[in-house]
């Protein structure tokens, strides 16, 4: 029997522990919020309490970010690249995942594992040769280089994630659809895809967020400010040598990361399932 005092103590301990973790995890973001609205004078006084507004908040940093930098262009570029990557990923990963889920035996299974392993080949090994590709095709400083290269990580990942989804749809259903008058392909398109819609939505979210997170390729291929995406635009354009425009920098980081974080959170469990090859259910 637990006494009520013991219970209070346990709950208190739990909240204390969780608070430490939450503060550790969220603090940089709390910091972004504060810095976004803090006056420069307040920000740059080492004796001022950095956690509070010592002077009235201001919108100057936001104004500067939105109207005097390419920030809005970065957002637009990120969106365009993201949508194009989503489209390419869907077109290639959906049929591949279905094929692997339904027909893979022997060599097909090896192929599936091979595709998974390509996810482990890091951009750090690929960006030098790929930069030559981009040069050869005249795609330097072009968003097209990112659109063509980002599927190198979205396709393997999304194929594996979707494969797991397709495997949960019973074969009976498509066999029934074939008996009910559809072709093999028709059964997939008209019956299986509608059933896999939540899986497809999941890979749309991941293809988009992963391409938004991407840093190395964007840094390698794009150096013209107007062509940058947020993940490199903010840290490279607003940090110029030693002149840190802290306010706008933090505002940019905050605006770009919050929406992705919110959407991502909803899909996190599925991310884990796909990404650990279903080793974790």
């Amino acid at each position: 029997m637990m006494t009520s005092a013991g219970k209070v103590f346990r709950t208190g301990r739990l909240y204390a522990l969780l608070s430490i973790f939450a503060v550790f995890s969220a603090f940089p973001f709390y910091w972004m919020i504060i810095a976004t609205f803090k006056r420069d004078h307040d920000l740059f006084s080492p004796t001022n309490n950095p956690f509070l507004f010592n002077e009235p908040p201001t919108l100057d940093h936001l104004r500067l970010l939105l109207f005097d930098t390419h920030f809005l262009t970065y957002l637009l570029n990120t969106f365009l690249v993201g949508m194009a990557v989503v489209a390419i990923t869907l077109i290639i990963a959906v049929p591949a995942a279905y094929s692997l889920a339904r027909w893979a035996r022997g060599w097909g299974e090896m192929l599936g594992i091979g595709i998974f392993l390509t996810y482990l080949v890091p951009p750090a090994i690929l960006f030098i040769p790929l930069s030559r590709f981009a040069a050869a095709f005249g795609l330097q400083e072009s968003l097209w280089s990112l659109i063509l290269i980002y599927p190198t990580f979205t396709i393997p990942f999304c194929t594996w994630l979707l494969m797991g989804f397709f495997k949960t749809i019973p074969r009976d259903i498509e066999e029934q659809a074939m008996i009910d008058g559809l072709s093999r392909l028709g059964a997939m398109v008209k019956v299986v895809l509608p059933l896999a819609i939540s899986g497809i939505l999941t890979i749309v979210v991941f293809a988009f967020t992963l391409s938004m997170h991407e840093f190395i390729y964007a840094l390698t291929f794009i150096s013209v400010s107007a062509k940058k995406t947020v993940s490199i635009g903010v840290p490279t354009e607003l940090v110029r040598g030693d002149v840190f425009q802290w306010g706008p920098l933090m505002a940019g980081a905050l605006i770009a990361s919050t929406p992705v974080a919110v959407v991502y959170t909803f899909f996190l469990d599925r991310f884990i399932a796909g990404f650990t090859m279903g080793a974790v259910k």
Binding site: D172, I173, Q176, M178, I179, D180, G181, V191, P194
Partner: protein, 343 residues
Amino acid sequence: MARVELENISKLFGATTAVNEVNLQTIEGEFLVLLGPSGCGKTTLLRMIAGIETPSSGDIVIDGEKVTHLPPRTRNIAMVFQSYALYPHMTVFKNIAFPLRTRGVDRTAIREKVEQAAGMFGIGSLLERKPRELSGGERQRVALARAIVREPSVFLLDEPLSNLDAILRASAREELRLFQRRLGVTTVYVTHDQVEAMGLGDRIVVMNKGRVHQVGTPPEIYQWPADTFVATFVGSPPMNLIEQGDVLAGFRPETFLPAGPATENEGFVTYPFQVTWLEYLGAERLVYGDIGEKCCARHVVSRLPGNISIPIEPGKTYPFAVAKKAIRHFDRASGRLIDTGKT
């Protein structure tokens, strides 16, 4: 209505032979049951008739047309899966209408036919529900309605009753048989349950390890099993088999009864029956024991109907007799039935 002919069908999955040179013809409008233990190839055979699997060799002919390599949609067959395979994202109406929509039937005709089929199975009030909102019995009816709505020439059923509880199963069996009679569609039904097979089938095909062991009406299968496999697979408890030299003698438990004045004649064989165990089942008693037959004692079972109430105790020996005409003889090496003269 159609005939299905299977000519020398084999199916290999890698190195394993699932179906081994099966020849089979249905009779128009009959209810044919494929019976066998799990893994005997009966479901594979059904799936080949449906067109979901392609035979490794041999031909399938439906209605005189060779369909071996044609996809399912060209065969005008209907199939009910063990899981019922209802489309989870569609309403009952859309499920039933699905085979009609793929065939391009117009809207008004679809509505009419779906309502008719639903009415037939008493599910007219469920048309707007989704499959997950239905009970097991209702799901089965939806699957059947979806199967018949296209007026198929052959009706294939893969253990459709195995997901129902025992009480529902008995009434579903009866209904199924009545519908089949009424529609007169050639039906192939797969089951591992011999009671279902005996109760439903016009004819039964007994299969094991990919081969057909016997094709016959339920009485033929029960009384004249073609070999020891059929003899022991059909009937519960199975047929008693005792060694007599190169021959195995078999008799059904219900033919092995206490000896009395009526059995003391040429037509009966009497054995001393050492009873080891007794089960009281209400309507009958099952008596287990050995009969000393020269060198080798053999374990047999007797099934005593409730009206034979003589006291029997384990550990004692009683004279039991079996009619000679109830005894079947099998070749010990091949297991085949030796007796020829059918009565």
